[in-house]
C-alpha cells in the first residue's frame, strides 16, 4: 500500500480531516457510558431528578454531535477514496497504454484487466476503510481503556492487563492458523484443477471410458480438501470461545473487585455500570480490528499487484527524436537481427538468428515456415512492437529507433493474426486508424478487403453494431474487416500476418487481386502458410527455427531450398515427402 502513497497525496486534506472527525465521533461515543454512570450516581443514588433530565438532554446532544462527526468523516473518506481510486485507474490505464508487446506477454492481458478493475476497487475500499473503520476500531479500543483508567486506575489496569493477554493470544492463533489455511488453499486448487480438466477434456474421458477412474481420483482430492479444511476450521473454532472467555473473566474480575471498591467507597455503583460497558466495547472493537486486518491483507495483495504494473518499465523506449524526413517506405533493411523474448544471449533462447535482408518499395516480401519458426516475431519487429535484441532494422536509411514511435507506427499498417474488433458499429471499427475518413474512403477500403458485400447485406449496413450487443461475425468476416481497417490508413508499409487464414479460397484470390495495385505501390510483408499465397511474391523468405534458410522467388527456392521443397511437397501431396521432413520436426 505504501507504494501507492503518492496517489493519496493530492487528497491529504481529506485524509487528515476524515480520521480527525472519526476521533471526535469516537470521543463522543465514549462519553455516553460515562454520562450514563453520572445518571446512576448523581441522579438515582443521590436522588436528583432534574439532573437526570439535564444529563439526558446532554446525551442526546452528544449523540447528535457524534452523528455529525461520523457523517463528516464519511464525506471526507469517500472523497479521498473515490478520487484516489479514479486517479489510480487513470494512471494504470495510461501506463498500460505505454506497454510493449513484450510487457503484455509477461503481465498477461487477463491479469492486467483484473488489476485495473478488481484490484483498484480493493485498494479504494481499503483507503475508505483505513480512514473510517481502521481509525474507529483502534481508537475505540484505546479510548475505552483510557476512559476506564481515568475513572478508576485499579479497575482500568485489570482491563489493560486483559487486553494485553488477549492481543498475545490472538496473534498466536493467527500465526498458527496461517500455514493451515495456505494448505487449505493448495488442496482447493487441486480440487478445482481436477474439475476444470474434466470439463475441458470430457470427450477424452468418455472416449476412454475413464469416468469411474476420474470419480475415484476426484474423491481422493475432494476428501483431502475436506479433511484439511475441517482441521483448519476446527482450529479457528478455538478463536472466538477463547477470546470471549478471557474477556468475560475480566468482566467477572471487575465485578468482584469493583464490588469491593464500592464498599470501600472508592468507586460508585454507576461507575461500575460504565465499566461493564467499556469492557464490552473493548471486546467488540478488538473483533472489528481482527476482521479489518483480514481485509487489509487482502487489499495489500491488490496494492502490490497495482504497484507492479506501475513500476514496470515499458520495454520499448520512445526516443521522440525528430526524424529528418517522413517515412516513405522506399527501402527497408534488416541487419544481422537477433531476437530473444527475455533479452538473454543464450543461443537456444533465440527466436530469430542473424536475420539479414533488404527490400524496396513495390516489392512483396512473403515469409513462410513452420509454426514457431519466428515469422510473426520477424514482422512485429518492424513497427517496434518488440525491439531487436541485437543488430538493427533500417527504414529509408535510418534506424527505426530514431523515428518517433507514433510516426513509425502510423506509416506501417499491420494486420494482426488475431482479428480483434471493438464493440461499436462497423464504421467505427473501420475508421479506427483514421477517424476522419469519408464514407467513400471507407467503402473503397472495404471493397478492396472483400468486405463491402457482406457489410451491405447486414441489417444496418455500415452502422451495424458488432460485439457483445450486436451481430456475431464469422472468423473470415472479422479478418476482412481488420484488413479493411488497415488499408484505410493507406500505409506505405503493409504487413499481413497470416490474416487470411479463415477466408475461403475464392475470397482469398479475389482479395489478392484487389490488393495487387496497393502492393505494387507500397512495400508489403506477407506471412502465409500456403505456398499458393506466397508464390507470386518478389521475395520469399523461408524461416526455419529462427534462421533464414532460403530467400528468393518461388522458382529459385523450389530449385535450391530444401525446406521450401519440403513445404511444397507437404502441400502438393507427393509421397516421398513423408520421409524427407521428419528430421526437422519435433524439437521445441
Amino acid at each position: 500500500m505504501w507504494g501507492l502513497k503518492a496517489y493519496i497525496k493530492p487528497y491529504w486534506k481529506f485524509v487528515m480531516l476524515g480520521p480527525l472527525f472519526m476521533l471526535f465521533e469516537v470521543f463522543f461515543d465514549l462519553l455516553q457510558p460515562r454520562l450514563a454512570a453520572y445518571i446512576v450516581n448523581s441522579g438515582v443514588v443521590e436522588r436528583d431528578l432534574s439532573l437526570i433530565e439535564r444529563v439526558g438532554c446532554l446525551m442526546v446532544g452528544v449523540a447528535l454531535l457524534s452523528l455529525v462527526m461520523g457523517v463528516g468523516c464519511n464525506l471526507f473518506a469517500s472523497r479521498a477514496s473515490q478520487n484516489f481510486g479514479a486517479d489510480i485507474r487513470e494512471v494504470l490505464y495510461k501506463k498500460i497504454q505505454t506497454f510493449s508487446f513484450e510487457n503484455l506477454d509477461t503481465l498477461k492481458t487477463g491479469s492486467l484487466i483484473t488489476r485495473i478493475t478488481n484490484d483498484v476497487v480493493q485498494v479504494q475500499n481499503l483507503l475508505q476503510m483505513a480512514l473510517q473503520g481502521l481509525v474507529r476500531a483502534p481508537s475505540l479500543l484505546i479510548g475505552s481503556v483510557v476512559m476506564a483508567l481515568l475513572m478508576n486506575l485499579r479497575l482500568g489496569l485489570i482491563l489493560l492487563g486483559t487486553l494485553i493477554v488477549l492481543v498475545v493470544v490472538l496473534f498466536g492463533l493467527i500465526r498458527f492458523s496461517f500455514p493451515l489455511f495456505s494448505n487449505v488453499q493448495a488442496k482447493l486448487d487441486a480440487v478445482n484443477t481436477r474439475i476444470q480438466e474434466n470439463l475441458a477434456g470430457i470427450r477424452v474421458v468418455k472416449a476412454f471410458v475413464r469416468n469411474d477412474y476420474e470419480k475415484k481420483q476426484f474423491k481422493q482430492v475432494n476428501s483431502d480438501y475436506t479433511r484439511v479444511s475441517i482441521r483448519a476450521a476446527r482450529f479457528i473454532a478455538l478463536n472466538s470461545p477463547i477470546v470471549s472467555l478471557i474477556m468475560n473473566a475480566c468482566l467477572v474480575a471487575i465485578l468482584l473487585y469493583g464490588g469491593n471498591l464500592v464498599w470501600m467507597n472508592t468507586v460508585q455503583v454507576g461507575d461500575l455500570v460504565a465499566f461493564i460497558n467499556y469492557v464490552t466495547q473493548v471486546l467488540s472493537s478488538l473483533l472489528m480490528v481482527s476482521g479489518l486486518l483480514m481485509n487489509v491483507s487482502q487489499a495489500n495483495v491488490s496494492a502490490k499487484r497495482i504497484h507492479q504494473v506501475l513500476t514496470t518499465t515499458p520495454k520499448i523506449e520512445n526516443r521522440m527524436a525528430e526524424s529528418s524526413s517522413p517515412i516513405l517506405g522506399q527501402h527497408i533493411k534488416f541487419n544481422h537481427v537477433d531476437f530473444t523474448y527475455n533479452g538473454s544471449d543464450e543461443l537456444q533462447d533465440k527466436v530469430l538468428k542473424d536475420i539479414t535482408f533488404e527490400a524496396y518499395r513495390g516489392e512483396t516480401i512473403a515469409i513462410i515456415g513452420s509454426t514457431g519458426s519466428g515469422k510473426s516475431t520477424l514482422v512485429q519487429l518492424i513497427p517496434r512492437l518488440y525491439d531487436v535484441t541485437s543488430g538493427s532494422i533500417q527504414i529509408d536509411g535510418n534506424d527505426i529507433r530514431e523515428y518517433s514511435l507514433l510516426e513509425l507506427r502510423h506509416s506501417i499498417g499491420m494486420v494482426l493474426q488475431d482479428a480483434f474488433l471493438f464493440s461499436g458499429s462497423i464504421r467505427d471499427n473501420l475508421s479506427f486508424g483514421r477517424l476522419n475518413a469519408t464514407q467513400a474512403e471507407i467503402e473503397e477500403a472495404a471493397k478492396m478487403a472483400q468486405a463491402h458485400d457482406f457489410i451491405t447485406r447486414l441489417p444496418d449496413g455500415y452502422e451495424t453494431k458488432i460485439g457483445q450487443k450486436g451481430v456475431n461475425l464469422s472468423g473470415g468476416q472479422k479478418q476482412r474487416l481488420s484488413i479493411a481497417r488497415t488499408l484505410l490508413i493507406k500505409p506505405p508499409i503493409l504487413i499481413l500476418d497470416d490474416s487470411t487464414s479463415a477466408l475461403d479460397l475464392g475470397t482469398e484470390r479475389r482479395l489478392r487481386n484487389a490488393l495487387k495495385e496497393v502492393m505494387e505501390e507500397n512495400m508489403t510483408f506477407l506471412i502465409a502458410q500456403r505456398i499458393s499465397s506466397v508464390m507470386e511474391a518478389q521475395k520469399i523468405i523461408v524461416l526455419e527455427e529462427g534462421s533464414i534458410v532460403g530467400i528468393g522467388t518461388h522458382e529459385m527456392l523450389l530449385e535450391t531450398c530444401e525446406v521450401y521443397q519440403d513445404i511444397y511437397r507437404s502441400q502438393y501431396g507427393k509421397r516421398e515427402a513423408y520421409y524427407g521432413s521428419t528430421q526437422s520436426f519435433s524439437s521445441k
Binding site: 457524534s66 506497454f99 478493475t117 471486546l283 502458410q529
Partner: protein, 617 residues
Amino acid sequence: MAQHNPSHQSKNTAHFSQMGFNSGRGPRPGEIQHVRSKNAKGTLLRIWDYLKLQRRGLFIVVISTALISCLMLLGPYLIGKTIDNYIVPHHFHGLIRMGFILFGVYFLGALFTWIQQYVASSLSQNTVRDMRQDLFDKYQALPIRFFDQKTHGELMSRATNDIANVSNTLNQTVVQLISSLFILVGSVVMMLSLSLWMTLITILTVPTVALITKKVTKYTRQYFSEQQRHLGEVNGFVQENISGLRVIKTFGREAQSIEEFKEINEKLRLVGIKAQSLSGSMGPMMNTMRNLSFVVISVCGGVFAYHDLITIGIIVSFLNYSNQFSQPINQLANQYNLLQSAIAGAERVFEVLDQASETLEENKGVSLKEVKGEVIFDRVNFGYESDVPVLKNLSLHASPGQMIALVGPTGAGKTTIINLLSRFYDIQSGQIFIDGKDIYTLDKHFLRQQIGLVLQDAYVFSGTIRENIRYGRLAATDREVEEAARLANADAFISRLPNGYETQLNAEGSNLSQGQRQLLTIARAVLANPAILILDEATSSVDTRTELHIQEAMKTLMKGRTSFVIAHRLSTIQDADHILVINNGEVVEQGSHEALLLQGGFYATLYKHQLTQGNVS
C-alpha cells in the same frame, strides 16, 4: 479461485461475548446481493437431504446453539442481580458466589461455542464434500450434448463458487440465524421478567430504527446501483481495450484511447463520490440510533429507578439486552439475503444434478469377445435438434481394417457420424452395427473401449507425460507406455526433454507444441489398442510439415484397425480404401480416390481446387 476465506469462520461468531454496548458498524447497504431463488422450499428440502446424513452433528449444533443463547441471556441478568442483591447491599460472600456462578456461565458458554463450531465446521464441510462429489459424478455421467450447450466457465462456477456459497452459509449463516431467533425471543422474555415498561420502551426503539434504515437504504440504493452501472462501464471498456491493446498499438491510437477512458472514469469518479458519501453515512446513522436507544434506556431507567420502580441492576441488564435484542434484528435481514443467495447457488447445483444422465446399459448391454471392426450405418437419421436434420438416411459400410475417409464442407455432418458411432449422441432412426451387432444392444462402456479417438484439439491433462499416455490403458506397464510412444513417433521428442517421460505437463499442456501434444494423444490411442479408430481433423491445427510427421504415426496406428479419418486437406486421405463425400448430411459420392477423380464430381472439383491452391482449406 479462493472461496475459502479464513476470516469467515471467525468474523461473526462471537455472540456470546457481545453483551454490552456495541459499537460495530451496521452492514453497508447495497452491498448485499439480492438473488432470489425460484423454489426456495424445494431447494432447502434437498439441502436437508444432505444434512440428514449427519443427523447427530446437526443435533449437537442445534442443542449447543440453544444452550449458548440461553447462557448469553443469563449473563446480563446475573450481572444486574449481582449489583442489586450483593454489591448495593454489601454482601461479600454472595458476591463471591455470584462471581463463581457468572464465571461458570461464561465458561459453559465458551465451551458450547467451541463445540458448536467444532461440529458445525465438519458438518458443513462434509455436506458440501458430498454435494461436490455428486456434482462431479454427475458431470461424468452427463451426455456430451450437455457440455456442448454450456460453457466450461459456467459449469466450473457451479462446482466452485456456488458450492462455496452453500458451505459458508451452512457454516455460519444457519447457525447465526438460529441463534438470532433464540436470542430475539429469549431477550424479550428476560426483559419482560425484569420490567414491563422498560421492555416496551426498548422494543419501541426497534421499529423506529428499522423504519429509518429502510428509508435511507432505499434512497442510497439508487445511487449505489448507478455507481455499479458506471463501474461496469469502465470495466467493460478496460476489458475490451486491454484485450485489443495490440491493435491500438499497431495503429498508434494510445492517446485517443486514454482520452476515452478519462471521460468515463471521470463520470465514475463523480458518481462514486456521491454514492459512497450517501451509503457510507449509513454506518454513523446506525451508530446514532444505537446511541439514542442507549440514551433512552439510561434516562428512562434513571427516572424509573429514581421513583424506585426498578433497580440499578435492571438498568445495567437492559442496556445489555437492548443491544442483544437489536443486533439480531439488524443481522436478520443480512443473513436472510446471504441465505437467499446460497439457496440460489444450491439451486444451480441441483439443476445440474437433475439433468438426465447418459443411459449406460452396463448391466443390460452385451460385450463381445472379440471385435473385428466391421461398421455399418443403415439409413441413419439424426439432428441435434429434433426438427433440424443433420444426417439424412445415411448408410455406410466399413470392412474390418479398412480406412474410411469422410470428406465434405464444414457442417456437412462428418463429426456427427463419429458422435453417433461413439454414442455421444443417439440416433433418431435407422441402425448402426459393429460386427453385425446393433450398437444399441452393446454395453456403452464396452463400445467406447473399442473406439479410439484422436481429435483436432489434442487434449492432455496436467500430470506427467507418462501418466498422460497411460490414460489409454491404466494397467499398462512403463515398458508398454514407452513402446506406445515409440510407435506414435513421440519417443524422439520425449527423450529430448530434460525429464523425459516424467516431464510435468501444465494445465492443457501449454508447455508442449500442438504437434507434440497430438503425438501424445496418438500414443494414448496406441496403448488403448482399440479395434476402431477415429481421427477427427487430427492434424488440422498444425502446419503442413508437422502434419506429415504426425501422419506417419497415424499410419502405424491405423494398421489392422478399421479407421475413420476426417480431414480438410485431401492429400492426407488419398490412400483411404474408401472415401465418402458428405454434403448436407448425405453421402453424395463414394469410392476410391482414383475412382472419384474419374467421376469428375464434387470430390474432383474440391481436389483440383486444393491442388492449385495448396492443400490447406
